[in-house]
């Protein structure tokens, strides 16, 4: 029973991982650029949610879309101001550019909000309820289910709408897309916006049940990399499966071995998979 309990909470967390990792996989698949600041975007969204509630007294119904909107704008700005230029340069420049951004965001938050952990009241989305003996916190359930719905929605937008087709066309072949009258630059800006907005929603959801601190983004970035590498880059369904898997593995190893070693298991697994299948579990190459 306890294992089932742990697995369920792992799945709920994993679905949030899947959500922000889908944003990273979209960016990565579109332009083969890695956003090393992805986890720090999530951190900013967590602070946005926290301040929206404490300063403006806005509830989750407002601050979740609010965080998404703020991060969408940030993503577009980062693309236009930085990524568009470094993407043309050597790979080292791409890594430096987004890593520099990560450092600036992380330590600006450190400076502005101090290193203290803060958190939202735990009953914001209702208390804990019993489901045939499983005890589930409402905030985690809300986060998990909403993240699952939005990730699925993202996949549907990518595969079923004209915008999605345009995005995928640019990812497939930039020049051919241009000949079809699609503007790659605009599409990539949109991809960065959507990718960042996914971290906005995810961050606001995580803030419902997790403490907020300036350095929380570091490990979240790594989790997003792991999920994207395992799921195959550019694949939202891959990210979904890998995200849920990582969530469960983390929860189980925290329960069975100890919380400090949960990331050791995740990173070891990641290295192992990379070594055996360098293209990712579900990637093709």
């Amino acid at each position: 029973m306890i294992l089932l309990q742990v697995t369920v909470s792992g799945l709920l967390m994993g679905s949030v991982y899947a959500l922000f990792s889908s944003g990273l996989t979209l960016i990565w698949g579109m332009m083969n650029v890695v956003n090393f600041a992805h986890g720090d975007f999530v951190m900013l969204a967590m602070y946005a949610a926290f301040f929206a509630f404490t300063l403006l007294k806005l509830g989750p119904i407002f601050f979740i879309p609010g965080a998404a909107a703020i991060l969408f704008v940030l993503g577009v700005v980062v693309y236009l101001g930085l990524v568009r230029h470094v993407a043309k340069g050597p790979m080292l420049a791409q890594i430096l550019g987004t890593f520099g951004l990560a450092l600036v965001l992380r330590y600006a938050a450190f400076w502005a909000f101090t290193a203290n952990f803060v958190s939202l009241p735990s009953n914001l989305a209702g208390g804990t309820f019993d489901f045939y003996g499983l005890r589930i916190e409402a905030s985690r359930l809300l986060a998990g289910v909403l993240a699952l719905v939005i990730t699925t929605g993202m996949h549907l937008v990518l595969t079923r709408t004209a915008l999605g087709s345009r995005l995928l066309a640019v990812a497939e072949d930039r020049n051919a897309a241009m000949l079809m009258g699609i503007r790659p630059d605009r599409m990539q800006a949109v991809a960065w916006g959507i990718g960042a907005a996914s971290t906005g929603v995810a961050g606001a959801l995580i803030a419902l049940f997790f403490y907020v601190s300036p350095t929380v983004g570091e490990s979240l970035s790594l989790i997003a990399f792991v999920v994207v590498c395992l799921g195959g880059f550019g694949s939202v369904p891959g990210a979904l499966i890998a995200g849920l898997g990582i969530g469960v593995i983390q929860a189980l190893s925290a329960y069975l071995i100890g919380a400090v070693y949960q990331d050791v298991i995740v990173y070891s697994l990641f290295l192992l998979v990379l070594w055996v299948r360098p293209q990712g579990l579900m990637g093709t190459n």
């Binding site: 990565w28 083969n32 890695v34 930085l82 230029h85 470094v86 340069g89 050597p90 790979m91 080292l92 420049a93 791409q94 890594i95 430096l96 550019g97 890593f99 520099g100 951004l101 990560a102 450092l103 600036v104 965001l105 992380r106 330590y107 600006a108 450190f110 400076w111 570091e218 790594l222 990399f225 792991v226 590498c229 400090v260 070693y261 990331d263 050791v264 990173y267 070891s268 990641f270 290295l271 990379l274 070594w275 360098p278």
Partner: protein, 319 residues
């Protein structure tokens, strides 16, 4: 090497630095610049010359740092005696991680190196032999001169300078040897290099072993000088990032790039730390982040490219 007079002047300036300034803070900055130059030049062998961008070199730095202090805490040896131990451990880790990781290209390689480094950081932070989260201390007072525990930064300055000269001479030789050309081919692209008959994996591994060994020595020297390490200051991801930033700012894949990068960033870091005190680390990393962001945006090949542009323009003007 047409610029040897300039190199000579630079060397004399660095060698004379602690005698030119009378201030302990400035002397200490000089020693730290050299230490950073050693670490970044070591990173440069793999990240610059071979073009394999490692974001996990903290593993080797940490291995050297921990080895130095573990031989002191466990065996009572002088910390510097741990340096060869650190090198041996680093080479073992490098061979173990490097062999499978080098099949990965581009971002995948960088990510694998981050994950491997974080793995070791978490393990060290939970291993009592390594002081767990608290860290390790060196000898509080020097027992013999072999402890290399000095109040003045000047002895460290010359120790570090000697190591840097050895490393840069080796790099210079390497650059002009078969290996230098092989690495340049690998940097241009794995597949192209392989089609030219370059044993890609073997030479990547050589570059990594050389790079890891010297990074480990830098870690040992750091532990000897500072006398205290903990998981974040020896194995943290920021250590890996710092090596990369210093080398990239000066110019990755150039002989003197890392030294130039260190001469700019370390004085900046020490000054902001001194100005903003305890909370200064935050400010320092905002500055660091902003610098590499701007370098990546406007001068992606570092200061070396700027220098090259200036000198070639001058050369073309005078026929």
């Amino acid at each position: 090497m047409k610029q040897w007079p300039l190199v000579l002047i630079g060397f004399l300036f660095i060698a004379a630095w602690p005698l030119l300034v009378d201030d302990v803070f400035l002397q200490r900055v000089g020693a730290l610049v050299l230490l950073a130059a050693i670490s970044a030049s070591a990173w440069n062998l793999l990240g610059g010359y071979a073009g394999q961008v490692s974001v996990g070199h903290a593993v080797y730095f940490g291995a050297g740092a921990y080895a130095s202090l573990v031989v002191y805490t466990e065996l009572g040896w002088p910390p510097i005696a741990g340096a060869p131990v650190g090198v041996a451990v680093s080479l073992a880790i490098a061979a173990l991680i490097g062999t499978p990781t080098f099949r990965l290209r581009g971002h995948y390689f960088s990510m694998a190196t981050i994950a491997a480094a974080e793995l070791f950081r978490i393990l060290a932070a939970n291993w009592p032999l390594l002081g767990a989260a608290v860290g390790l201390m060196g000898p509080p007072v020097p027992r013999t001169v072999a402890d290399l525990s000095f109040l003045s930064p000047i002895p460290y300055h010359y120790l570090f300078l000697a190591v840097l000269v050895v490393l840069l001479t080796l790099t210079w030789k390497m650059q002009r040897s078969r290996m230098g050309y092989y690495l340049a081919a690998i940097r241009g692209g794995d597949r192209a290099a392989r089609s030219l008959g370059v044993p890609v994996l073997r030479y990547k591994l050589y570059a990594l072993l050389l790079s890891a060994g010297f990074t480990s020595i830098a870690g040992s020297l750091y532990a000897v000088m500072v006398g205290f390490i903990d998981p974040d200051s020896a194995l943290g991801i920021l250590i890996s990032v710092k090596l990369l930033i210093i080398a990239a700012l000066g110019g990755a894949g150039t002989l003197f790039g890392p030294l130039v990068g260190a001469m700019i960033l370390i004085p900046l870091e020490e000054t902001t730390n001194a100005m903003f005190g305890g909370g200064g680390t935050g400010i320092t990393f905002i500055v660091y982040g902003a610098i590499i962001l701007l370098v990546a945006r406007f001068q992606p090949r570092g200061i070396a490219a700027l220098w090259e542009a200036i000198t070639t323009r001058r050369a073309s003007r005078v026929p």
